[in-house]
Symmetry: C2
Subunit: 454 residues, 2 copies
């Protein structure tokens, strides 16, 4: 039998060597295809061809009794490397400027003595509720600064569960909405699987997917269509490997809220294809027309992400949460256990205090400011969709590209976010944030108007 | 030229199909090898054979002009799947009980009314410094609860840098030492690469590696060798794919501090093979004999992890940090930006306050308790190495296995950690924590003594 083992191992070595040889042949073909594409000025990536290859591999796997998930994982390794080989020698796109990069630049300019109007970062200027501060102090006094359950202290999970109409096992408290997105993507998807995002979008979905080795496919929406996603186009993007759809309404950066019919269409599509539906609802309190959480659609594979950051001006507390079925929460909890153990206990008590506060004054401020910004942008003659919610307006620039406008404005003491930070196709847009008092908004928009007119 | 493209794509499809065919042949061989191994009662994984295959692939890649990293990545995908195929049908090991699982169980028993003595969790019972509470309250009053730089507020990074004798760019503030470990492993290593841990070990290194698709190799140390790693054995574990070595002194769970000669040997080995050296020094203040940080060895690829949790009894604040070269910190910062944006600002101010406090009273308490535990364990006739530092004693049980002792003790109201939670080979050990007052320790150890004698 030990001889058997030796003989089998010898065969194993031979077949391994053949695999490597064939793979290298494939890479050589990829290189040649890359050259031809470059001469024809074609994109390296061709979703349609990839999709055909994927289907062929699935058929073959079924025919030869190969594990399908493994076959797709392997194919993905090959496709990713082929793309890299094909892209060699091509000019790479300039590194993208996101709103955060502009925020850091603005901060540096401020540090060197320049006065700055911050219309780039989604951080409300008003104060967190006083009860939050009291809770923080009380947590220290009562020595509530120990390890907690990974998914959060029961009191806070209970309060969130009650407010969301779900069970306590269907809630996890996370260090910010971002980590809820992170743990959903890393906990539910495998490397090589696909996530669909609806752009323009907060870059976190794509960043978390990239980190987890998950591919991102993009459904583009347009100003012309009022930022409403096209359900048929969305359907055409779904393939074998697609496992999650990430949406965000009220939307950052457009302020869009979908009507119930469109949302139902999205949920049906997710249901038909068994996709996780990651619904980032951190702006749900800033809704100036009817907004229904995805929870109202009763789809068992949805994950709602929320946060204390925006509603209660608690960005720097880094605390958010997710609501989903218990099995999903368990997988997210596992990621949280590996990464951070638990959210700081005093912070969880602060969040609990915030939940009892009424944010409606904040919401009124935000709505008033967004109306003000909209009126000013109309005066400038810019095209945009008036926001239904959230904290932003996303106008189209008349001519020049976003980065040059953003940089001219930085020099003049105004920071706004470039549209291309929310998706490759949006370099004609900029995002303006309503997180400063009206007189500052007026000043900033006045300067923006003068820069655009030039 | 478009015809060229079609023809190349046809060839591509053919070669892709051949690859899948060959891979499936390989899996069939793996299955047969698995059967033979099962009959011979051999382990599924054979490091030596894997190592040979790896070397053969590296040689072949060089010969046929294939990218070496890609070849190894691909091989790893194949090896992982082969292992899974070989393991099919085998009894899987019982799910491991870690100290955290026992902690959760003990908490549940407490919730149902049972009194518990907690000797399982590494969470000091004394209070955090009063200045920490004042700082927390002051941060709220002065509205310091906003997004900060991802790597942490400058004041805190400065203070840490000064204390560590490095530059401000060489520090990152993280949500606990755990996230420093996480971001080092996820930020510096690629899937398929290898990390070596020295066991017994805190399970986080292995958990983070698994999460990132990084393989873990284990250097076992023994009570007989006084928990000192064997440098030659360590050397023999290093292969092409090995990229990081994780060490932890003063050690959790053994309390060991290495002498300078052994540490120099480890650093030299890391240097010779270009390995990152992740040195978890969260217990460095709890050192009862000379302890030198790995920073004193001046190795440019070392990463020192530390935390405010243990020294200042701030476990539930979830704040730690890492010190490394600026380029390494940048890569860790990128992971932090994707996962959490930044550590909560009030928490960072609390940590800054803690840095000015003198922890020596805490250190004296811990040393005294560890001596007390040691004397009691000697009375029980158990074998163990007296701790040089940290907060634990790791004795060997006379006969029975750890889980049965741990469970009997739980019933009797004492929680201790099973040794096997720190590595597969340690089911004859348990870990006892010195984080409770001496009278509770005495009580708990008395009960343990009676359980063991049975």
């Amino acid at each position: 039998m030990a001889n058997d083992l030796d003989s089998l191992r010898q065969q194993m070595r031979a077949v391994t060597s053949e695999i490597m040889q064939k793979v290298q042949e494939r890479m050589e073909l990829a290189r040649q295809i890359g050259e031809v594409k470059s001469r024809l000025d074609l994109d390296v990536r061709d979703e349609k061809v990839e999709q055909e290859v994927r289907l062929a591999v699935i058929r073959q796997a079924a025919a030869i009794g190969m594990d399908r998930d493994f076959a797709l994982r392997l194919l993905n390794t090959l496709l990713t490397e082929s793309e890299a080989v094909q892209a060699q020698g091509r000019k790479s796109a300039a590194p993208k400027q996101t709103h955060l990069a502009i925020f850091q630049k603005a901060k540096q300019l401020e540090a060197s003595g320049k006065k700055m109007i911050h219309l780039e970062v989604g951080e409300p200027d008003y104060s967190a509720p006083e009860s939050v501060g009291r809770s923080l102090a009380e947590a220290f006094r009562s020595r509530q600064y120990h390890y907690t359950e990974t998914r959060g202290i029961p009191q806070l999970r209970n309060a969130i569960a009650k407010a969301s109409g779900v069970g306590e096992d269907e809630v996890i408290v996370t260090p910010g909405g971002r980590f809820a997105v992170f743990s959903a993507i890393a906990g539910l998807l495998k490397p090589g699987q696909e996530l669909i995002t609806v752009e323009p979008a907060w870059p976190a979905y794509r960043e978390c997917a990239e980190f987890a080795g998950v591919k991102t496919k993009v459904l583009r929406t347009t100003l012309e269509d009022g930022w409403t996603p096209d359900i048929d186009e969305l359907k055409s993007l779904i393939s074998e490997g697609t496992k999650m759809l990430a949406i965000n309404y009220p939307n950052n950066p457009t302020g869009k809220i979908l009507d119930r019919k469109t949302m139902s269409g999205i949920v049906s599509l997710a249901r038909d294809h068994g996709l996780y539906l990651l619904s980032d609802e951190v702006y749900s309190d800033y809704a100036f027309r009817q907004f229904d959480s995805v929870l109202t659609h009763d789809y068992e594979k949805s994950i709602v992400v929320s946060s204390f950051s925006k509603t209660y001006a608690m960005t720097g507390f880094r605390v958010g949460y997710a609501v989903a079925e218990a099995e999903i929460i368990k997988k997210m909890t596992r990621v949280q256990a590996v990464g951070i153990t638990s959210v700081a206990e005093p912070i969880q008590h602060a969040a609990l205090a915030a939940l009892s506060e009424d944010p409606s004054a904040n919401v009124r401020i935000m709505e008033k400011r967004l109306k003000f910004i909209s009126s000013k942008l109309k005066e400038m003659g810019l095209r945009f969709v008036e926001p239904d919610g959230a904290m932003y307006v996303y106008p189209e620039l008349p001519a020049s590209d976003d980065i040059s406008v953003v940089e001219s404005l930085l020099e003049k003491g105004v920071a706004i976010a470039p549209g291309s930070g929310f998706g490759d196709s949006y370099s004609k847009f900029v995002r303006i944030t309503a997180c400063r008092p009206e007189d500052e908004l007026a000043q900033g928009l006045e300067i923006m108007s003068s820069v655009i007119r030039k």
